[in-house]
Amino acid sequence: MPFYQSISEILTENRQDMAGIRTRTAKVIDALDGLGRELDATVFLDPEFSHNQAQSVATGDANLPLFGVPLAHKELYGRHTEAAIWPDEGGSKSCKGQLAKKTATTIDKLDKAGAIDCGRLVSVEYALGVTGHNAYAGTPKNPWNRDYVCGGSSSGSAAVVAAGIVPGALGSDTGGSIRLPAAACGLVGIKPTQGLISRSGIFPLSASLDTAGPLTRSVEDGARILSCLTGYDSTDAMSIKAAKIDYTEQMEAGVNGIKIGLAERYFLEGSDSDIADMIARLFDQINQLGAAGSDVEIPGIENTNPLNVLLIASEATQVHGNKLKDIHSDLNAQTLMRILTGAFTSEAEYSRLLACRADYIAKTLPVLFDKIDMFLTPVWPFALPTIEQSDVGSNPEAAALVQKIGHNTRPVNFLGLPAICFPVGMDKNGLPVSAQLVGKPFSEALLIRAARAIEREICFWDRRPDNVVNAG
């Protein structure tokens, strides 16, 4: 049963009827167990834990920012309870039965903000995949049309939020894994600046590139969750002491005066013309709202996509490579190939790769953001494929298609920049099309402000895949 409630609506109801938190939690768990499993999105529920948490929150501080708000998260997010039954499988048969030994810092922060943790959602194996296919844990179906992919790797998170079961879910983004599923399912996805949010306690893929962030149905809900997640964490080597910001504060200030660039070369030219045209029209629309638009050129951006692939592969091999003898037969062919590819990176090459990334960032960002505050690109470079069309396992010809999916997202990870993606319309098949705004380091507040102004114009929030969800 979908609910489609915003965090703001839930908070209002919870503060009027604190006992209702337990009832809502029970309904959400039922929906995750029913519709969530129908969509192949739910991977783990612990009703006893969630009900106890709801009971405890309901008798606590009603002013908490996520007081009694039900959430569920990508399976990579650890939670250690007394019963020690929460999974830590990384979406992989190779880790079957592995249990979380600690609670992720982000999950702890959401607990402290009063959220109710309702379970775990399907991830692509090791978070290494952009379509959402997972033969072991399940391939989530897109609520807008169940024949289509949810995108990956935070596929289950996107499916249950788009289905209206929970208002938000955490995902992780190393090459686009928050933005691609958010975009595929008509959601808002926030990939934060590298170092803003702790990754401690999250199943690792790439020590340099992994980031954590929310998928929600609105910019406001994304801002509310993001505000609870930030803060320095000494247990994450990449964590950075940054300003603590309430991202909802300036959210309604509009785009007037914000300098937005359109990255035509590489991003628009690398996307199908119907998608590129939609983004170009959106750019005009944003300018009419008062933004100061201009074209932007990012020298060398075309190399960042393959270098990001190399960095992910090299670091994934550091995490999983020493277990290959025991696990290789349990891995899907694509995961195995990525890890094998990374095995050929020597220590000297890895050091050079890190140095090249730092060099590129140091040279590029001052020039790129000299005249603009952020730039606009598509997320998916073409209309969403169906689950069948993009199944590399059964259709080797799909490999070329799948390889292109991260074209617009991976460069952002390589640059370490924050990005927010949001739906802007529908494609020829009735599936969502999304754009992303990419900003300076730690400019999440400005990105949220701009995305909110666009959201107000487009009103995608009112569109729901109800018929598809209810049609089963």
């Binding site: 090249c356 730092a358 040279k363 380091p441």
Partner: protein, 67 residues
């Protein structure tokens, strides 16, 4: 990860782990393309800062302007 670039050693280790020769060859070819691109990057050795250093500076700058 190897101390130095020794592809033959890596291939032997992967083969000993039970990886098929076809998979090893494909991974090696894919890696070679990516590592060639890396080698062609005009790295400026004068920059001694890490990515983390760069982002820490950006965060500090934001804190200063906010304060």
């Amino acid at each position: 990860m190897t101390d130095k670039n020794n592809d033959a050693q890596v291939k032997d280790r992967l083969a000993a782990s039970g990886i098929s020769p076809a998979d090893i060859t494909l991974a090696h070819e894919t890696s070679a393309v990516l590592l060639d691109l890396l080698a062609s990057y005009p790295l400026d050795d004068r920059l001694k800062k890490s990515v983390r250093d760069l982002f820490e500076e950006a965060a500090q700058s934001q804190l200063r302007s906010a304060g």
